[in-house]
């Protein structure tokens, strides 16, 4: 599998899902349980991605400059600082720690 294969298959899948919402019979996902699972799925996937992106290094779990950077990011999101600024500050915190420690 090449990178292009991954990109094409994943793009086709997500686009099909968008079209699917307009094609499935109304009411199927309006029911409480499927709607709740779809909602929580997003939360679980994003939380898992944060954990892996912050602590993972291949198959190892490491605590490095990413941890303080993410803690700073959480504090800034809590203070309602805009997304792009938080992302840049997080990068600067990690880069700063790596440069000076």
């Amino acid at each position: 599998m090449t990178t292009w294969h991954v990109i094409l298959i994943a793009s086709a899948a997500t686009l099909a899902l968008k079209l699917g919402g307009y094609l499935v019979p109304a009411g199927l996902l309006e029911r409480e349980r499927p709607a709740r699972i779809a909602d929580l799925l997003t939360v679980a996937l994003l939380a898992a991605l944060i954990a892996v992106q912050t602590l993972g290094a291949g198959q190892a779990i490491v605590f490095d400059a990413r941890v303080p950077a993410v803690i700073v990011a959480a504090a800034l999101f809590a203070l309602r600082v805009p997304f792009l600024i938080v992302v840049i500050v997080a990068a600067l915190v990690a880069a700063g720690i790596r440069a000076f420690v």
């Binding site: 994943a10 199927l28 997003t42 679980a44 996937l45 892996v52 997304f83």
Partner: protein, 234 residues
């Protein structure tokens, strides 16, 4: 008086759409830079923003590829697709409102059915305003997101050693930013903590990419049985 109300309403839709649109489009910079850092080229990065055009899935795809490489390609596809499932729900909500006109217009509506276009539409009080909000927000983000993706990809290309610039931490912060607005309810918070724990604990024993998919099961279990819900189940 009535006329003034209508024009005030129109201004509100315009302000909501452009405000949300520009703020969201700005994330494109971080996506472009992170995608190039993950090993995709500028074309591949721009293709994702044009065709996939759903931020969460795009960040997830390049995030999993960054940690697991092409060996994690299957997991990357699955994670992106699972994150795209919420767009099915949005499409069902938007269908009565925007599913009209020719085939091209209807496909375009589905294409721009994302978190923000749906949210702005749902925030309006009447159907006309909701329809305008949906299209305006979707189009502003589509144009902005693709331009900023290209800019971000070129910046990422120029940065070189992405770890030294802290781009790995930036990716984690980006996921946190996408998650943050979804944590208002206790159930969502509980799922987030449990999923993060499962992903962390399974990282040493599973192939890169799989821990995220295993953590998704937390949502299925909690959602199915409606655990940690403050409302009493009927």
């Amino acid at each position: 008086m009535e006329e003034r109300d209508t024009s005030t309403g129109r201004t509100t839709v315009l302000r909501d759409s452009v405000g949300v649109g520009l703020a969201t489009a700005a994330y494109g910079i971080s996506f472009g830079a992170l995608s190039v850092a993950a090993g995709l080229d500028v074309w591949q990065t721009c293709f994702l923003s044009l065709v996939m055009f759903t931020g969460g899935s795009q960040f997830a795809l390049v995030g999993v590829l960054a940690s697991g490489g092409l060996a994690a390609g299957g997991s990357a596809i699955a994670t992106a697709a699972l994150l795209g499932i919420r767009n099915v729900v949005y499409g069902m909500r938007m269908k009565p409102l925007v599913d009209r006109g020719g085939l091209a217009q209807r496909i375009a509506a589905a294409w721009i059915t994302i978190d923000e276009s749906t949210a702005v539409a749902l925030a309006q009080t009447d159907d006309r305003a909701a329809r305008r909000g949906f299209w305006l927000t979707g189009i502003v983000i589509f144009v902005g997101w693709n331009l900023t993706t290209l800019a971000g990809a070129l910046i990422g290309d120029a940065l070189g050693d992405t770890r030294a610039w802290g781009l790995d931490a930036a990716a984690a912060a980006a996921f946190l930013g996408l998650l943050w607005p979804r944590l208002k309810r206790f159930q969502a918070g509980a799922v987030a903590v449990a999923a993060a724990l499962v992903a962390t604990l399974t990282t040493p024993v599973l192939m890169p990419g799989l821990p995220v998919l295993v953590a998704a099961l937390v949502a299925v279990v909690v959602g199915w049985f409606d655990l940690f819900s403050r409302r009493s189940a009927s």
